[in-house]
Amino acid sequence: MQHMIGWVWLWPLGVAVLLAWPLLRRRAMPLLLLALLPAWALWGLAWGLPDLAMGKIDQAWSFWLLGSQWRLDALSHSWLGLTLVVWTLAALHSLVMVSAHQARYALFFLLSLSGSLLWVLAADAVSFYLGFSLMSLSAWGLVIHEGSRKAQRAGRWYLVLALIGELTLFVGVVARAAETGTTTLSEWSSVPGADWVLICLWLGLAIKVGVPLLHVWLPLAHPAAPVPASAVLSGVMIKAGVIGWWLLLPGEVMAQTAWPEFMLWLGVLTMFYGAVFGLMQSDPKTLLAYSSISQMGWLIWGLGWVWQMGTPEAGMLWLSAFALHHGLVKGGLFLSVGWVKQSALMAQPGLRTATWMGVGVLALALAGLPLTSGDWVKTALKAEADNAGAVVPSTLLWLGGLATALLMVRFVAVLRDLGGHKPTAAGNQTLTGMTIGVWFSWIALVGLVLVWPWWQTSHWGTGHVWSGSVQGLASVATALLLVWLWRRLRWPEWEAPPGDVLVGYQWLGAHAHRVFKQRHRSWRARKRLAARHWRHWQTARLLKSHWRTRWETRLSQWSVVTAGLMLVALGLVASVWVTV
């Protein structure tokens, strides 16, 4: 039975191979749903018959790489659920929202899905790294899918940062494996590590999480991708960083270090950073991306106190509840942008109203309105954190919640400006049955967002969950009040470019380039002068070409080649002679 775990992520790869068949390449989108079947089967099995599937480790592929193993336990089951819901919705929405280059989209989608399922189930570091990088790098194909200039720029920044993260993470993983002598993750959690190893691991994952200053790819990539892909990027992928921190860093011995405190403050900072710059955006998807950064702040903060606790596993379940909440809501919100843009849908009064109601529910849930999942998880997290003796004042957390609420108000406003509020000329086109069906799946997600905390609380039997409702209500109310004041006072709107500090980076880069070019120019001028005055300057002729070619030409000259031969030979003799 446990060998099924491996097939969950291998199956999408097999489906991707089917794309080699031209017939399937033309009808690629249904394959995306096909790819999810084994994963659903495993999830359902583990839900229905926990004894059969839970807590099992699949080592059928131990011959592969450095000995792969995958496991299913309470934590990975919960993450698997989130992953499945968001990816399935994305697959469904791809049916109606992605029409160009379907085969290519499907390929990257499947690869990325496979990676996403792999890191969820990974029980060894190499599998986690594999899944993580497969997901990240394949998602590049989703980011650039639209092919616009904007998408290309986003893709470039995405790839640059993803690769840097990848390599840093790789170094960290190799070093940690050498440190602990194993790649089995369960053994990593209790072994303290050298600081720089932990920093490498942390940094590699921090890029994915979108920690301020490393987040610049995020507000570019999430809006640039097609709507279903943005839902996945924001709903699932960025959380890989958090679970990576949990799995790869030694959580059980963190309490003695400064890491938890650092994470607590970083979390709060991230909450505000995301919210402040999010408020200065005018594109709904960019705004949602900033909101994701802000929400990641909660997870960072949460991980901080989880590390502080004596029994981190219990806290981790609360964190995954928060991740589930955010993943579902944010996925739904990104998809809602797509539906609001569907002018045909918006032409049908009933559907239009329902869509806006859905948007409202999702936005309020994220803002933490009482009786929604947002309120439940935030209150519970705060309560747990107080129990554990977290250092961050709860006022700050309340302000963080307020910022989210403000962001959501702004989101709805921006979304309304998008043109969805009134039917356009194109609105006469008829809706296909498929579109309606997919729309219903989105409505179902909204329903799920409303329902799951109730089910979860009854399941967990927690008593104090709704006690913070007043706080949630207060934050939403304050937000509305602030917005109303803002409007009354008619202050001009501020805008920040997507990626905020990215502008700074680019300026620095351009400046450095300019400085370099100036120096380069003066160097060339001097050489030219030298060439004029020195008869034997051999390569004056070559100065016209680029220095790259020039140096290669020089290196290829026989005098240089023979000099190289002799120099290396003498260098070797000398180096041996010195030691022997």
Partner: protein, 309 residues
């Protein structure tokens, strides 16, 4: 004293050969250098190597060089377009001097060492099928070296055939009645010399290489004398030539495989049959070397036309 003078002469010629700006002069000096080097090698008790160097390293190489030079008239000027006199800086000369000094001290250090494989060679000479140690090493103890060296020759020829450029000039007045007669008279004599060298190789300096070099000059003379006559119509001749090219390597390697069959190991012979097999291989090798070297020189002739070989 003679050695010192010879050495100085060799070094002076070598220096001139790489210094001169006239390619023709460089080649002539190079041929003379080859001859002097061969002379020096006889002083080092290496008559086999000296013979081979004189015949192949100086003679045939010289013919090849001179023939090729004629095909690059526009490049034979003192300076090829694009190339320039590279001034080698003090850094280069420093490296050169240091490496030279290092080498001299290294070689001086082993001048008196007395390690050698000769006792081993002599101990096994009676099992090798020949009595001349050099031939024993070449054809028996290190037979695969020699087989692959024939392969190098064959593959170099294969490459040349593919690089072949049809001659542009047709002024090479070698054909003539006098020449033909002379060749006819000389040819049997040269073949005789070649056979003698081959035969002698089993017991004294000589063997496939030297014999092959003589055969090469014989072939060359024959072909040069009747170049126009030697064309496609002589199908049997062509087949023979082709078989001759391949013969050396194929016979050698097949006999080598036969060794496995006979229990003497790959590239080995049963001691009692070794002499006969070696003679067979040497004959095929001499024929091959002769034909290949002659062909190489022939295609480099300016008036060589495709289809003759």
């Amino acid at each position: 004293m003679l050695d010192a003078i010879l050495t100085l002469l060799i070094l002076a010629l070598a220096w001139h050969c790489v210094r001169t700006t006239d390619l023709f002069e460089a080649i002539v000096v190079f041929i003379a250098l080859g001859m002097l080097v061969a002379l020096a090698w006889t002083r080092l008790q290496a008559p086999d190597a000296a013979l081979a160097e004189a015949a192949i390293g100086a003679g045939l190489a010289g013919a090849l060089l001179l023939a090729s030079l004629r095909q690059m008239p526009e490049m034979s000027a003192t300076r090829a377009p694009g190339a320039k006199t590279t001034g080698l800086g003090w850094f280069w000369w420093g490296l050169w001097g240091a490496l030279g000094l290092a080498l001299v001290s290294g070689v001086a250090a082993i001048q008196t060492t007395s390690v050698s494989l000769m006792p081993q060679v002599q101990a096994h000479l009676s099992d090798s099928g020949v009595t001349h140690p050099v031939t024993a090493v070449l054809l028996n103890f290190r037979a695969l070296d020699t087989a692959l060296e024939l392969a190098v020759l064959l593959w170099a020829w294969m490459a040349q055939k593919q690089l072949f450029v049809p001659g542009r000039q047709t002024v090479y007045p070698l054909q003539g009645q006098v020449l033909k007669t002379a060749v006819k008279a000389l040819l049997p004599l040269m073949v005789l010399v070649a056979v003698y060298l081959l035969w002698r190789g089993s017991s004294a300096p000589g063997g496939a290489f030297q014999s092959g070099a003589v055969l090469a000059s014989a072939w060359l003379m024959l072909w040069l004398a009747q170049l126009p006559g030697l064309s496609r119509k002589q199908g049997g001749m062509r087949l023979g030539i082709q078989a001759g090219w391949l013969g050396g390597v194929t016979v050698f390697l097949l006999v080598g495989l036969l060794g496995v069959f006979q229990g003497a190991g790959f590239m080995g012979y049963p001691p009692d049959q070794a002499g006969a097999w070696i003679l067979l291989i040497e004959s095929a090798a001499a024929l091959s070397i002769g034909l290949l070297l002659a062909s190489m020189v022939l295609v480099s002739m300016p008036d060589f036309q495709e289809g003759t070989l």
